[in-house]
């Protein structure tokens, strides 16, 4: 785990304050999403990434606005971190007409093409080859855009992972494979079903790639290591794979209390919670407590407002049901 330490400059500081704001917002959004779930307003499932915000925030900060994010079912943070407003995301979780996809996708499929969020994928591994395709199109059109695919530690054992990694390496595609290693799959520890200790990094060499591990609870470290990968990708040097060590504070999905995890493990990782750690770092770097409180209050207000706006959304009807199966906007398969 490497993170270059440089004395912060004022522009550094602005960047870092923004990173704090982003992480804090992701956290507050998801806490609210959980409440809404418990209230019965989020009807399907939802997978929170509370504890992993440093990754979403750190990577997004390293992206160009025309770069592409490919997320998993655990994609709230990655979606919001690209600048998607909270209201349509809350509304999507609640299945409302003002949802990001008008309720048709739900929590596991958040997509905002406008913000470069090219979908959240709920079948393990699928989006890795799909991200390769976006990268291929950038390469073909010479746009220097880069695709980032996020995935979990447990997802490294599925076939699509292997195919995508080899394919990207051979075609030298501008794609970054980002593994968020939170140690657990749903209820099984990944190390129990994986042949190597670092499920992504220990496999990089199988694709001729450098093995990269980063502290996933340190947004600065994530930002740096990812920025370097973007630079390589834009320079035509091909893909990178990054493995970030992190932890989810809650259960896998919905109301899972995550009881299968040893108390000490959770306790240890709670001491590494990226948000208080980053807050302390900012205070030490000279940011004032007041400034941070102001940010926090702004975000809290944003979450409240977005919740209200989302709740005000309508219930989708038959027009939406039969909309957009096809490019002509309809669902007709016959004449």
């Amino acid at each position: 785990m490497s993170s270059t330490k440089v004395a912060p400059t004022s522009s550094d500081l602005a960047h870092k304050v923004a990173l704090y704001r982003s992480q804090y917002a992701l956290r507050q959004f998801e806490k609210r999403a959980y409440d809404l779930f418990l209230e019965g307003l989020v009807k399907g499932t939802s997978h929170l990434s509370i504890g992993q915000e440093a990754i979403a925030a750190g990577v997004a900060a390293a992206m160009r606005s025309d770069d592409w994010t490919f997320a998993t079912y655990r994609g709230h943070a990655h979606t919001l971190a690209r600048g998607v407003p909270m209201t349509p995301v809350f509304a999507e979780l609640m299945g409302r007409t003002n949802g990001l996809m008008a309720g048709k996708g739900g929590s596991m499929h958040l997509t905002s093409v406008e913000h470069g969020v090219m979908g959240s994928y709920a079948v393990i591994g699928a989006h890795l080859p799909i991200a390769c395709g976006a990268a291929w199109s950038a390469q073909y059109r010479g746009t220097e855009q880069v695709a980032v695919a996020f995935f979990g530690d447990g997802s490294t054992n599925i076939g699509a992972f292997h195919e995508a990694l080899n394919f990207a390496a051979v075609w030298k595609l501008p794609v970054i494979f980002f593994c968020e290693n939170n140690l657990w799959m749903e209820y099984t520890r990944t190390s129990e079903v994986t042949a190597v200790a670092n499920p992504a990094a220990d496999r990089a060499s199988a694709y001729g790639l450098e093995s990269i591990i980063v502290d996933g609870n340190d947004a600065d470290a994530v930002f740096e290591v990812t920025s370097a990968a973007f630079a390589r990708a834009r320079a035509g040097e091909g893909p990178s794979m990054i493995e970030a060590k992190t932890y989810r504070h809650g259960g896998h999905s919905r109301a899972d209390p995550g009881k299968y995890r040893p108390d000490e493990e959770l306790a240890e990782w709670m001491t590494k919670d990226p948000i208080p750690l980053y807050r302390t770092r900012l205070l030490e770097a000279g940011v004032s407590e007041d400034e941070l409180v102001l940010i926090e209050n702004e975000v809290d207000a944003e979450v409240d407002l977005a919740t209200d706006e989302a709740k005000a959304g309508g219930v989708p009807g038959e027009d939406l049901l039969l909309k957009d199966v096809w490019a002509d906007g309809g669902a007709s398969w016959r004449n």
């Binding site: 009807k43 399907g44 499932t45 299945g95 409302r96 949802g99 008008a102 309720g103 048709k104 996708g105 739900g106 929590s107 596991m108 499929h109 994928y121 709920a122 079948v123 393990i124 591994g125 699928a126 447990g154 997802s155 054992n157 599925i158 076939g159 699509a160 799959m185 749903e186 209820y187 099984t188 129990e192 079903v193 994986t194 299968y260 219930v315 989708p316 009807g317 038959e318 939406l320 049901l321 039969l322 199966v325 669902a331 398969w333």
Partner: protein, 325 residues
């Protein structure tokens, strides 16, 4: 006699067979200590241990490949594919390998295995976790396909599937997992390829499967109130298909309505309709009508999902309209 949920019946059915036969082993993701994501396998690892009940990596091709290789060498594996949508990541092992290898080897190999999976919608999980894939399996020669609609049938059909010497795709309607029923004590073993007539009527025959069975029954009750008396057949097993029962019951009323959760095109209902339109054409008194989910991916929002999957109301309206036209 005890009241069991559909999900509890799954563990009971598997346990019944694992007790009886050492060669029955069980593998899948999170099936062990976690008791399955739908809590359908609670207690099995405690009773049978980690050698017979084994957690796997997220590697569906490996899971089903392992089941196939074990079956051809003398075991009787049960494999779980968590959501039936994920058959798509291991379809080669199912459709090209397991289904075909007995035939290709001229009977040198036998594949006594069961692949069970949570199937269908109703839980607001969206298009990639809600599909009804019974027709994916039905269209592939060499697969048996079983879809129970209640807790008792779960046990009996699970036992029959495990004892069967052919590969069985066992699809559990997720929407029924929490449904409850009184279940007799002792061993329960049912028979594959037998449909059940749940209600006898004289005006029309509703043929339904899985989660659509309780809806068809409820619709029949409503329809009876307005003078349309329906037979309701629970298909239970698509392959082998109990065409004898279906043909008899459709002949008796002269009208067939299928109630299907799968998207419209090439569903099991199309097969049943085609058999009827061929073999008892002259017994029919009117059009064959399929009541299905429209041919769309399933939406996530509760309001939309409820519109998509055939509801009691839609069944009632459709039958009414068709019988009165």
């Amino acid at each position: 006699m005890a009241e069991l949920t559909f999900r509890e019946s799954i563990a009971r059915g598997i346990a019944q067979e694992m007790r009886r036969d050492e060669s029955v082993v069980f593998l899948g993701e999170d099936i062990g200590a976690a008791g399955g994501v739908f809590k359908g396998t609670v207690g099995l690892i405690e009773e049978f241990g980690g050698v017979r009940v084994r957690d796997t990596p997220i590697s569906e091709q490996a899971i089903l490949g392992a089941a196939m290789g074990a079956a051809m060498t003398g075991l009787r594996p049960i494999a779980e594919i968590m959501f039936s949508d994920f058959f798509a990541v291991c379809w080669d092992i199912v459709a090209n390998e397991i289904a075909k290898s007995r035939y290709m080897t001229n009977g040198q190999m036998t594949f006594p295995l069961v692949i069970r999976s949570g199937n269908g919608g109703g839980l607001r999980f969206g298009a990639q976790h809600s599909q009804s894939v019974e027709n994916w399996a039905m269209m592939v020669p060499g697969l048996k396909v079983v879809v129970p609609s209640n807790a008792v049938d779960v046990i009996g059909l699970m036992a029959a599937s495990i004892r069967d010497n052919d590969p069985v795709i066992f699809l559990e309607a997720k929407a029924l997992y929490s449904s409850k029923m009184d279940v007799p004590d002792g061993e329960i073993v049912d028979t594959l390829g037998t449909a059940k007539v749940l209600r006898e009527g004289s005006n029309a025959t509703l043929v339904a499967l899985g989660a659509m069975v309780p809806r068809a029954l409820e619709a029949a009750t409503e329809l009876a109130a307005s003078g349309i008396d329906c037979t309701v057949v629970d298909v239970r097993s698509l392959v082998p298909l109990d065409t004898a029962t279906i043909l008899r019951e459709v002949s008796a009323t002269g009208r067939l309505f299928t109630v299907e959760e799968n998207p419209r095109l090439c569903g099991w209902g199309a097969e049943v309709a085609s058999i009827v339109a061929d073999e008892i054409f002259y017994d029919l008194d009117g059009p064959i009508v399929r009541i299905t989910t429209p041919h769309i991916p399933l939406p996530a929002a509760d309001a939309l999902e409820d519109m998509a999957i055939p509801s009691v109301e839609r069944i009632v309206t459709t039958v009414h309209k068709s019988m009165n036209s």
